[in-house]
Symmetry: C2
Subunit: 333 residues, 2 copies
């Protein structure tokens, strides 16, 4: 059957009708039900409404609606330490039988003794050494499976909930709200890109190709006539601070119009996002809720937010007080 | 006006109707009108039909429909040399007044004398040296503007057409056909990622975030209180041969189910794509048309296709003969 071009028109007309009807509906129903009414919520909605309003001087075409989100402390919790560190510790315990030398070698020895404080005393250097020992040496597909397996069994030490449930319900709503309004949502995290990709699609609705993170090098190899990518014990990119805009540029190739973070590690991403042409939106999640989550900022070793608070005030960025702005923190169990 | 959730239903129903009606239309009309009927065209259509057919054992969910395309020689021409080399030569001529030393320094001196043969005698090393001298030292936004400006004036030496018109009409149809069937289409090219991004969206319908290519390092800096990314004269990644799967993994994080190339530089991308689980599709464009385009393969210094022809035959990959399979090469002027 030959159908002429004309017959595409009804489909196009339907699509136009859908585009026309969904926008007012998304706006009329509360898109952010877990947010208390207040300036933070209002600022998000006002931004989305002005950049999606056809004919408005702030209108942004769909293709340019790029929003970037930090992960640790912005989309999911990061206390008492980055969840990837728990993964690393569990991997060290699992691999210990193959590494008898770890019994006396730091930082591995402290992990095996369960002495987290001593382990973390080694700082970033020790963390990278442990990451190399546990994140390299296997194929990319094997590593993905290791992460998947861990996520089905591991529990957060305080809440006893699986880590994928330690995500912020109000931020899930922001992600969905932005996507309903034509945004592409990206993660831009200091965490390992391959540690996040196995679960971000299911948990956040963010597919692997929209995840930017730290990475180690990989190498293409033929094994028994089949190609594999082998993970090497060598850092490729650390996606933090001044390198967040670098990672954004490399992966996305456009400047975001909205960026969400929670720490000084996100400062340059927010600066880069906030100073482009046209309407811009920058938001810091401020951990102010010691009861329902954790309260920390200027002096925390994890997720320190110090300079960022000054810059947010100076530039009119939105600051979310978790205690005051969020009705709920985590999704219902 | 408050609109309840119920009102979302008509929109959802419309969307479902659209999804239902567009698929058969796309299939019934000829999606590849510039292709002669033959095994190459048939293989593309057969693959798309089987992986989109609900309930089929070969069905692939939309999220996993990733297709990667080489650029030079696969989506646009690459003779008498890579178009980016013409860009580099034009930049050297434009920048020469600021570099009096280039008059006597190779490979720059040969470029300024118009001696392309002598210039290219320096091979990849000379090309990278010239790329560093012309692609670095400015901000990312300045570089994008330089590429845009060049594309509006530069003409291909033989056809006298602007370079964005030197694209293959039959491949534009493949890109559109795949996207109509739920694919995300990516470029994975040895060419410079920032040389491609300014025009791939307009020319191919491929947005910047779906372009993978070779890159130089960039650095975040504050200039007069405004953040910029400065391009540094240092290679970051060369997206060729065994590093094409590496680039795919880094940017996309999933294995493609379809890959399109034209040279031995694409071989590992096709191997990586072709050996995943489930239905797979690999295609080589073979330059066989000396009259309408160029004819070259095993002995060409640009776009050599030698090992790839053996592997294609051994693995049952599709080989497109431009002379026999394509009704037209370039879009109408």
């Amino acid at each position: 059957m030959k159908i002429t071009r004309k017959h595409n028109l009804p489909a196009a007309a339907l699509l136009a009708a859908v585009a026309f009807t969904t926008t007012p509906i998304a706006r009329a129903a509360d898109p952010l039900p877990s947010w208390n009414d207040g300036t933070a919520k209002q600022s998000i909605v006002a931004f989305v409404e002005k950049i999606t309003k056809a004919g408005s001087p702030d209108f942004v075409p769909v293709a340019e609606r790029i929003a970037t989100f930090d992960n640790d402390g912005c989309l999911w919790a990061e206390q008492p330490m980055y969840f990837q560190a728990f993964f690393i510790f569990d991997r060290i315990k699992a691999l210990a039988p193959q590494h008898p030398e770890w019994k006396t070698k730091e930082p591995f020895a402290s992990v095996l003794k369960g002495d987290v404080k001593a382990t973390l005393a080694g700082g970033e250097h020790a963390l990278i050494e442990m990451a190399m020992a546990t994140h390299a040496g296997m194929t990319t597909e094997e590593f993905t499976q290791i992460v998947r397996d861990w996520l089905t069994t591991a529990k957060h030490p305080t809440t006893k909930r699986p880590y994928p449930e330690m995500v912020y319900q109000p931020m899930l709503e922001v992600l969905a709200y932005l996507r309903e309004n034509g945004f592409k949502t990206f993660i831009v995290s200091g965490g390992g890109i391959e540690f996040m990709r196995p679960w971000t699609e299911k948990v956040y609705g963010i597919p692997p190709e929209q995840v930017v993170g730290s990475s180690i090098k990989t190498k293409f190899e033929m094994r028994d006539g089949k190609p594999v990518l082998v993970r090497l014990p060598e850092m490729n990119f650390i996606d933090d601070k001044a390198d967040k805009p670098v990672g954004i540029h490399e992966h996305i190739g456009r400047r975001p119009i909205a960026a969400f973070g929670n720490s000084d590690g996100d400062l340059q991403m927010l600066q880069w996002t906030g100073t482009g042409d046209g309407a811009r939106f920058c938001l810091y999640v401020h951990h102010t809720d010691a009861e329902r989550e954790w309260a920390y900022d200027r002096k925390s070793s994890i997720g320190r937010l110090d300079k960022g608070l000054e810059e947010a005030a100076a530039n009119g960025w939105t600051i979310v007080s978790m205690k005051d702005d969020w009705k709920t923190i985590f999704p219902p169990e």
